[in-house]
């Protein structure tokens, strides 16, 4: 009998890509795609779409009756505005997870649970270690998305204790970018000038959207591996570098004004306070465990992933322009030098 997989958040971009990828796997017999919003395009034949909220009884019935052996939970949403306010976002993130896990607890055929979490659980602070491993003790982020993600992870861990027969895999993903990704961070880089915290240049890690799906797929249909894994592209990119690669200009804001600027940009970017801290102090996670235990290596480095995303941006400054200016400056320097040096004009070389 083939695998029967339930995917939550299936109408969101990552969920949609994952459902399509799962449907192409020969060993997957059926996918139950759950989301409370309608998908923008129809799912393939193997997929049954269930248009319900995670908190509805219909989900409990679906999880328990359909012989579901794997549950993929796409975890906490990060955008308070899109969710309809911070309170609603928290409700959906945390209570939705509780309900899902309650349903999963009684699912008799369940053997595997995959949670998409985030490296935001590590927070962002100046006193953090440079590179986070999964086992390092970390402060609990006090705000928004990071806090929700921690609580979601906590509920999943407690589920893990109560259902030892279920392999629980938690993937902590770095910030996702790519040609079709739309999240607060990609919207930030779409701004004509990118506000930064004056005097700070954080280290960032990116994960390409294709690698997101590859990692989720590996955890879902690959060999079952129990544990928590950081998933990110290799290497780091500084915020200043990212802004240059995006062809934008930085706009440094003194620290005391940062809160008000973030408030101004809330409409367009939908930043939460801990994402502002992320753009001040940055965050880097170690991906060795994912490589060695889960057997997942990203195809795109942080830089390549960001460059691939940046191709869709409208650039203020392009590489050609800078190179041309450089060459012109050099050429005029040489002309000037020749005039001063009193050497014959171009072609004086014998």
């Amino acid at each position: 009998m083939g695998r029967r997989i339930l995917v939550t958040g299936a109408a969101r971009s990552t969920g949609r890509r994952l459902v399509h990828a799962l449907a192409e796997e020969p060993e997957v017999a059926a996918v139950v795609a759950v989301d409370d919003r309608e998908p923008s395009e129809p799912f393939p034949a193997k997929v049954e779409f269930l248009g319900v909220d995670l908190r509805s009884p219909a989900l409990v019935r679906a999880a328990q009756s359909a012989g579901i052996d794997t549950c993929v939970h796409l975890g906490a949403g990060s955008e308070p505005l899109a969710a309809g306010g911070r309170a609603t976002m928290k409700e959906r993130n945390v209570l939705g997870t509780m309900q899902l896990l309650a349903a999963a607890y009684h699912a008799p055929d369940l053997r595997r649970l995959v949670l998409k979490s985030t490296t935001a659980v590590y927070g962002a602070a100046p006193g953090d270690p440079a590179v986070w491993t999964e086992t390092m003790p970390h402060e609990t982020p006090r705000h928004g998305f990071g806090k929700d993600a921690i609580q979601v992870e906590d509920y999943v861990r407690s589920f893990d204790r109560r259902r030892p027969d279920v392999t629980v895999t938690v993937l902590r993903l770095a910030n996702q970018v790519g040609p079709t990704v739309d999240n607060p961070l990609t919207r930030y880089f779409e701004l004509p000038v990118c506000p930064t915290v004056f005097g700070f240049d954080p280290r960032l890690q990116f994960l390409h959207e294709q690698d997101t799906v590859r990692a989720m797929l590996q955890a879902t249909v690959g060999a079952p591996v129990h544990g928590t894994f950081n998933i990110a592209g290799d290497g780091v990119v500084l915020l200043s570098q990212a802004i240059r690669i995006a062809g934008k200009a930085p706009l440094p804001i003194p620290e005391p004004l940062v809160g008000s600027v973030a408030e101004l940009l809330r409409r367009t970017v939908d930043f939460s306070p801990e994402q502002v801290r992320f753009l001040q102090y940055g965050r880097v996670a170690d991906t060795t465990a994912a490589c060695e235990q889960l057997g997942f290596a990203p195809k795109w480095s942080s830089r390549q992933a960001f460059e691939d995303f940046a191709t869709r941006l409208r650039k203020l400054v392009t590489g050609e322009q800078v190179t041309r200016v450089e060459q012109e400056a050099l050429a005029s320097l040489r002309r000037a030098a020749r005039r001063v040096g009193g050497v014959t004009g171009p072609g004086g070389r014998s």
Partner: protein, 343 residues
């Protein structure tokens, strides 16, 4: 990618030193590649106004050629920075910035102002991990910068010292990114272990603020060496400890008083009063031109103890004392042989 494994340009600079630019295709940096192509007589790059021909003529510029070479390098650097075409490692170390901006800014201080004399460089391994432990003094951490520059410029392997810095360095605007870009990271066991396991040369100043902000009358008297955290990291990774004695840093800002209230108000560990600061305002911030001697002492191996020794406080205390005594003795020795404070 660490600085050590990054390929360097094969060419020699005008001063006959090894070029330290990152190598591109053909094992040469962009500057030297273009020079080579110019010397070979073919147009290096298509450019709208015959820039290729100009480059070929560069050899005829006589006295101005070095300046042009410098300008070429500077423009190349600016373009890289404007396009983000440089790499930093996971700790944020930016060798491109160090080589083209930070080190050139510090070199006049090193060579002319403090006339730094370096001894015992052979005690620092050419490759692999080592923990460089030095005394700390001088109000501002210029000693850390000078030890870093000594290893970068004068060590045969041009090693980058990765200093474990106080958390204050990572909370201050402007300072925070410079601290990371110049190769430092936060002083915590996790970062130290990670750097040593990656085969890097790690620098620690166990006296911390107690050494940096001590009054002038206590000069060259080493303070307590923390709780020996650096020894534990060395034991865990089996990295040798290289004690370093810095002489000269104590006199750059002779601290006669410490305004504790002002310091507390500004959130700083101390607020120094020197004969010239804050009396002369910004002018008072110019350090005095003392004569410096930096001595790298023979390495103290730690591998023979095994990682388990971390649990034995006696081993940790003994090693801590051994390192501290080695440095204190070298400091006294070099003070006696130094021709004069400002000689």
């Amino acid at each position: 990618m660490t600085a050590a494994e990054r390929p360097r340009c094969k060419a020699l600079t005008a001063r006959g030193e090894r070029c330290r630019n990152p190598a591109g295709p053909g094992g040469l940096c962009a500057v030297h590649r273009r020079r080579l192509e110019a010397a070979a007589g073919d147009a290096p790059r298509p450019s709208p106004d015959g820039g290729g021909r100009d480059a070929g003529a560069a050899a005829d510029l006589g006295r101005l050629a070095p300046f042009l070479g410098w300008a070429e390098e500077a423009l190349e650097f600016l373009r890289r920075r404007l396009l983000g075409e440089y790499a930093v490692d996971e700790f944020g170390h930016d060798p491109d910035l160090v080589e083209h901006v930070l080190a050139p800014l510090l070199r006049p201080l090193y060579q002319r102002w403090w006339r730094v004399e370096v001894r015992g460089l052979e005690n620092v391994p050419d490759e692999g991990p080592a923990l460089v432990v030095a005394n700390h003094a001088g109000t501002l951490p210029f000693d850390a910068m000078m030890v870093t520059l000594a290893l970068l410029d004068e060590h045969p392997a041009h090693r980058s010292l990765r200093i474990l810095a106080a958390d204050l360095a990572f909370t201050l605007p402007v300072v925070a990114p410079l601290a990371r870009k110049s190769g430092n990271t936060l002083a915590c066991a996790e970062d130290a272990k990670r750097l040593l396991e990656a085969g890097e040369l790690v620098g620690v100043f166990p006296e911390g603020y107690k050494g940096l902000g001590k009054p002038f009358r206590e000069r060259y008297r080493l303070q307590r060496f923390g709780r020996g955290g650096f020894v534990e990291v060395a034991l865990r990774t089996g990295a040798p400890i290289v004690p370093v004695a810095v002489v000269g840093s104590e006199e750059i800002y002779p601290m006669v008083a410490n305004l504790r209230r002002v310091a507390r108000l500004l959130g700083l560990p101390y607020f120094p009063v020197t004969p010239t600061f804050p009396l002369l305002g910004p002018l008072g911030a110019i350090p005095l031109p003392s004569k410096w001697v930096i001595e790298f002492c023979p390495p103290i191996p730690t591998a023979q103890y095994g990682g388990e020794a971390v649990l034995d406080p006696m081993v940790v205390f003994d090693l801590t004392d051994q390192v501290r005594d080695t440095i204190q003795q070298a400091v006294h020795r070099n003070l006696l042989t130094r021709p004069g404070v400002f000689a």
